[in-house]
Amino acid sequence: MTTLAAFEKLPTLNSATILLVGTNSVFQQQLAEAILKEKQDLKINIHLTTFLPLPTERDHIRPRIDLIVFIIDIQSKYSFKEIEASLLHVDANFFLGKVCFLTTGVGRMDQMSVDMNAVLKLADRYCSPVLFCELECEKIRIATAQRLIRMLQICSGHLPGVSALSFSTLMKNLNNDSSFMA
């Protein structure tokens, strides 16, 4: 079983890499486009995949990954299962702030097929923050892209004084305020 390692490669100059994991490739594509549209000093590499582990044959040309975003479609049980399975292939060092869960489709509660508590519990188990969004809506997609870029800047160490771990600790505290753990 191959694992995606956090520190096996040197960082590249003035660039950051984000990995989007999710089963809905349309959403991934749209989100990636939205991220690239944002004006940045940083060169952003976006890698898309439907599951982990990543194929080994092209590992040598892949840059170091700074942030893994797991996209959970709340309307599809399959996406949730895939992500649960993919999580097993992630190096523990990533969970020090370089992982986040993006839950989409929260706008239509009536069509939910994944329990919201299950998502929150999963995120809690892996000590990672959850973002809620609706990727079908363009405005929310842009806002989400901006949030992800901000997180990516922190995770790739481009913001002096803030580390991924301290940032994720802040985010986690926010999530813990919700009452689901009671």
């Binding site: 079983m1 694992t3 390692a5 956090a6 520190f7 096996e8 490669k9 040197l10 960082p11 097993l88 292939h89 992630v90 190096d91 523990a92 060092n93 969970f95 020090l96 809690d124 188990r125 892996y126 000590c127 580390s163 771990l165 301290s166 600790t169």
Partner: protein
């Protein structure tokens, strides 16, 4: 002036070289760190409950980070004054640009606010004028209402008087007609007899006229309402008035009669 900046070209070249050297030194440190990190084996989390080991790991890392921050001393990126001056100028220029942007945006907002203020003031003025106008109209209307009510009362009274007068006239004519019809002057029926006996030198008064005289006297001189019976009064009519209780004879003078007192 520091002695290093004698010739700008050489000094800037020197500065560049120095910077590159420093950068490479840093990169060497990073590579060293990376090598140490690469030795570390990738660590997979247990499938069942990753939370506890993960939390322990986070605690360790965070403690290490904390210690690092405690030990770390703020350092200057480079000691080369040329580089520092350029960097400082760059940052100042950037700041200047940003401040100019802020200024222009604030000015734009100010302008916008001024326009809004003007518009609001115009609205206010218009509303004030509207209120004034409305107040004036209200005042006029209330005055008119007073006038109207007085006028109306007058009109009503007038119409009432008119109807009453009309009614009275109608009644009078009706009474007059009745009297004329049922109590005519007894000339025609008696012409033959009267012509023979005695020529009536006086024109006889109608019952209507007698009654009118009686009423007039009664109204004009209530202290002495009697009228004297003269030759123009046809005796049967006088008798009729007395018999039916319309007129009364004077208790002492049989030639004078008055209207019965209908007041009670």
């Amino acid at each position: 002036m520091s002695p290093t900046i004698t010739s700008p070209l050489t000094s800037s070249d020197d500065a560049k070289e120095q910077l590159i050297e420093e950068c490479e030194e840093m990169w060497r440190v990073i590579e060293e760190c990376q090598n140490k990190l690469a030795l570390q084996e990738t660590e997979t989390l247990p499938d069942s409950d990753p939370k506890l080991p993960l939390l322990m790991k986070r605690l360790k890392t965070q403690t290490a980070e904390f210690n690092q921050w405690q030990k770390k001393e703020p350092g200057v990126i480079t000691t080369n004054p040329e580089v520092l001056v350029t960097l400082g100028r760059d940052q100042l220029q950037k700041l200047d640009q940003e401040l100019e942007m802020v200024l222009s945006s604030v000015q734009a907002r100010n302008k916008n606010l001024k326009q809004n203020l003007l518009r609001e003031q115009q609205w206010l003025e218009e509303h004030q004028r509207l209120i004034d106008d409305l107040n004036q109209i209200e005042e006029e209307l209330s005055n008119e209402i007073v006038n109207l009510s007085e006028k109306r009362v007058f009109q009503e009274l007038e119409t009432k008087t008119l109807t009453v007068t009309a009614c009275k006239d109608k009644m009078l004519t009706a009474l007059g007609e009745f009297l004329e019809e049922h109590f005519p002057i007894p000339e025609k029926c008696e012409t033959t007899r009267k012509k023979r006996r005695s020529e009536p030198e006086v024109q006889l008064t109608t019952l209507h006229e007698i009654l009118e005289n009686l009423i007039e006297k009664h109204v004009i001189a209530p202290h002495d309402p009697y009228i004297t019976i003269n030759a123009s009064f046809w005796p049967p009519y006088v008798e009729l008035l007395l018999r039916y209780g319309t007129a009364l004879r004077h208790p002492e003078d049989p030639d004078r009669i008055r209207l019965e007192n209908f007041d009670n």
